[in-house]
């Protein structure tokens, strides 16, 4: 006699429909609410693309013009939304073209799931057409990766991929799926992954550390906060603001921490690091307590480690235990998600005032303003348009409400120094890896992620040409991205170093550029070029006023330099104003 359970099992067995591995991939993505993905088709991923076609009413695939464009677009989407970005590519060159973006996402902690096709499993290792060992290639630059050779593995592995990508310190995951696994059949059932026994995404908070940190902070006379992207990734913006306001602590951001609090906040003092602001760099070596929150003491932030904040007690709020004491020895490490640790420490923090200490930041800013900012904002007559002028005029138009996606180089530093931000996740750039060519595709992804916001890519003439083909993606999708090219007809940052450290030997930094306006027009974008200062304000206003995608090329001073600057190997307090 059959028991009820057995009968039920039989019914269940009948009702589960076998689907292909390729269809399972799409269903998994839908289950993870990843219905907007970026990619490029090819032989080994065709079964999955066939399912994209069948699911096209629920699922949107954006065809980029290069796999690197796809991965950067997915990164831009992830950074603007806080969700997981998804990029898809075929095997071989398709997969290897993703690597730069994956490495970028790894070093900048961006949640990314990359899916690559792979040759049929019986051909693995035979040097088959478009076979590369992408799992080995991507190992050092992924948080996790895995090769699926059996359709039945697909739901569990993709669930794991999303969980790993977004939990703890986020990062990129690559899943390689052989073509036979895409064709193979499975009984589909999707369960989101919530735990992996060997993986602790967020370390347990130690109360004693919270207490120890609070004691040091409460006693500090000259405390200083340096915050990074951890505040944004941990969604801890409010907790962070409450913390610095209660204790009245001056703060400065790393490159990736920008926009975590509004740039006009009284306790915000700009950016630290090589091209950061004067006051926070100089006062790093004067504070008595340095509180690092969600940052990793990158060498571009610290300059010479031997002379970095040696006088200060160091408190490090951090989610990744491997970052503690990696570069800078801490006195107290507060492990955990900063949202939780800041929430816990807040009641222990005394309300405080540090008026004299805060005044010091203002005094040094006044020096920086007079020596650097003011002259760049109002250059003398013979000087061409400066990048700084462009940013101040742009601020007037955006009022700080736009998402700015910058590329890598001088324009990136100027944007980071001068752009006004009111909202979190408004500053997207390639930080740790310094990937030229990042901004154009990342801006496309960002705009698709937050269509209600104005998204403006700010790019140099060099970086623009590194992924210029993505204008085709704009043409096809009609995504209304605004692009500003700050054109100095040089690889500006390298040229600046050649001027300062290589006796002006401009080796391979001079650029002979095409007519960017014509190229943009060829791709169906509205476009304009500004060459004279008197046309600049109108040029920017026209770009902002336009509804669709728009490219504005601004010819800027050719040999302009970014200052202040901490030369490589120098101490943060030896920052040069000229």
């Amino acid at each position: 006699m059959e028991t009820i359970t057995k009968i039920k099992q039989k019914v269940d067995q009948k009702s589960t429909i076998k689907i292909s591995g390729a269809e399972a991939v799409v269903r998994c993505l839908l289950a993870e609410e990843a219905n907007l993905v970026y990619g490029y088709p090819g032989g080994a991923i065709m079964p999955v693309y066939d399912e994209f076609y069948k699911y096209r009413d629920k699922f949107h695939h954006v065809l980029t013009r290069h796999e690197q464009g796809a991965v950067h677009a997915a990164q831009g989407f992830a950074r603007a939304t806080g969700k997981v970005g998804v990029a898809i590519a075929t095997s071989g060159p398709g997969a290897t073209n993703l690597i730069t973006g994956i490495a970028d996402a790894q070093i900048d902690s961006t949640a990314l799931v990359c899916i690559t096709g792979q040759v049929t499993s019986h051909l693995l290792g035979s040097d088959a057409f478009q076979e590369t060992d992408i799992v080995s290639i991507s190992t050092p630059v992924t948080k996790w990766n895995y090769q699926i050779t059996n359709a039945e593995e697909i739901p569990e592995v993709i669930a794991k991929a999303f969980y790993i990508a977004k939990s703890g310190r986020p990062g990129p995951v690559l899943i390689d799926i052989t073509k036979d696994a895409q064709f193979g059949e499975l009984d589909f059932e999707y369960k989101k992954c919530e735990k992996i026994r060997s993986y602790t995404p967020v370390p347990k908070i130690e109360k004693s550390k919270i207490k120890a940190a609070a004691d040091i902070i409460n006693k500090a006379k000259k405390p200083f906060v340096v915050f990074g992207q951890g505040v944004i990734l941990g969604r801890a913006e409010e907790e962070f603001k409450a913390f610095i306001e209660k204790a009245d602590i001056p703060s400065a951001s790393t490159l990736l921490g920008l926009s975590a609090i509004p740039t006009d906040h009284d306790l915000f003092n700009g950016m630290v690091g090589m091209h950061g602001h004067y006051a926070p760099n100089v006062l790093t070596n004067e504070c008595d307590v340095l509180i690092a929150i969600g940052m990793r003491f990158d060498d571009r932030v610290t300059g010479n480690l031997e002379t970095y904040a040696k006088q200060a007690k160091i408190i490090h709020f951090e989610i990744d235990p491997a970052e503690v004491d990696k570069n800078v020895k801490t006195d107290v490490a507060v492990l955990g998600n900063v949202k939780d640790t800041l929430t816990e420490i807040l009641p222990l923090i005394k309300e405080n005032k540090h008026a004299t200490w805060n005044q010091k930041f203002d005094d040094l800013y006044a020096i920086e303003y007079k020596e650097v900012i003011q002259p760049q904002q109002n250059p003398s007559k013979g000087v061409g348009i400066t990048m700084t002028e462009v940013l101040y005029l742009l601020n007037k138009e955006t009022k700080g409400d736009a998402v700015l996606v910058s590329d890598v180089g001088q324009h990136q530093m100027i944007t980071s120094r001068y752009a006004k931000f009111n909202h979190t996740k408004s500053k997207i750039t390639s930080g740790g890896l310094g990937t030229m060519g990042f901004a154009l595709p990342a801006a496309i992804g960002a705009k698709m992620g937050v269509p209600e916001k104005e998204v403006i890519a700010i790019i140099g003439d060099g970086g623009f040409q590194m992924n210029i083909q993505e204008l085709g993606t704009i043409l096809q999708t009609k995504v209304p991205v605004k692009i500003i090219i700050l054109n100095n007809e040089f690889l500006g940052m390298v040229r600046q170093w050649q001027e300062m450290f290589f006796d002006k030997r401009y080796a391979s930094t001079v650029m002979t550029n095409p007519d960017f306006v014509k190229i943009a027009e060829g791709y169906g974008l509205a476009a304009n070029r500004v060459e004279k200062r008197e046309d600049l304000a109108d040029g920017i206003a026209d770009m902002i006023a336009s509804d669709g995608s728009y490219l504005l090329e601004i010819m800027v001073e050719k040999e302009g330099n970014v200052f202040p600057m901490i030369p490589t190997g120098a101490s943060v307090s030896d920052i040069r104003l000229k």
């Binding site: 080995s136 996790w144 990766n145 090769q147 993986y199 235990p321 004491d325 990696k326």
Partner: protein
């Protein structure tokens, strides 16, 4: 800071790509792996890596951090030589005729606590387990007589302190 020999013990999930991922951590930092052994552990489906490196205390701490960061690593520990019980194994293939022609050989084998594990007409095989220096001593003793083949394994090691991996795994799942 001075370099010291450290034995790293890593408990991991039994996963195909993990060896690659772990060795990349050393490669990236230009650290030479002196020996590496992967085997089963006392827990089902859990592998144990034993890696020997020569680095500073500061370096070893950072490396452990990077290893533990890997998703499929359950736990990593490091120990100095005095904190663990360890040995290596070596096999020596030697011509059989030497056993009869060179009387010294028998004494060498006896003195070194080595074992003869197989004998044939042409050759015999000596097995020696112990510290690296003991194996080297035997090697040097046999060398003048001619060694047909020599191979030495990586270090295996058991720690004096408790590891509590099973408890950890139960805790992680709840």
């Amino acid at each position: 800071m001075k370099n010291e020999t450290y034995t790293i013990s890593i408990y991991t999930e039994n996963n195909l790509g993990l060896l690659n991922r772990i060795s990349a951590i050393f490669l990236k930092r230009h650290i030479n792996i002196e020996s590496l052994t992967v085997s089963d552990s006392e827990i089902e489906h859990v592998s144990r890596f034993i890696i020997v490196i020569n680095v500073t205390k500061e370096q070893i701490k950072k490396i452990i951090g990077q290893i533990e960061k890997q998703i499929e690593v359950i736990k990593a520990y490091y120990h100095t030589n005095s904190q663990s019980i360890y040995l290596q194994s070596a096999l020596f293939k030697v011509k059989s005729s030497l056993l009869f022609d060179e009387r010294q050989i028998q004494n060498i084998i006896k003195r070194s606590n080595a074992q003869i594990i197989t004998v044939s007409r042409e050759f015999f095989v000596i097995e020696k387990s112990g510290r690296k220096e003991e194996i080297e001593k035997l090697y040097n003793a046999l060398l003048p007589y001619g060694i047909m083949q020599f191979v030495r394994s990586g270090r295996i090691s058991i720690t004096k302190e408790e590891m509590k991996i099973s408890e950890l795994l139960v805790k992680q799942l709840n």
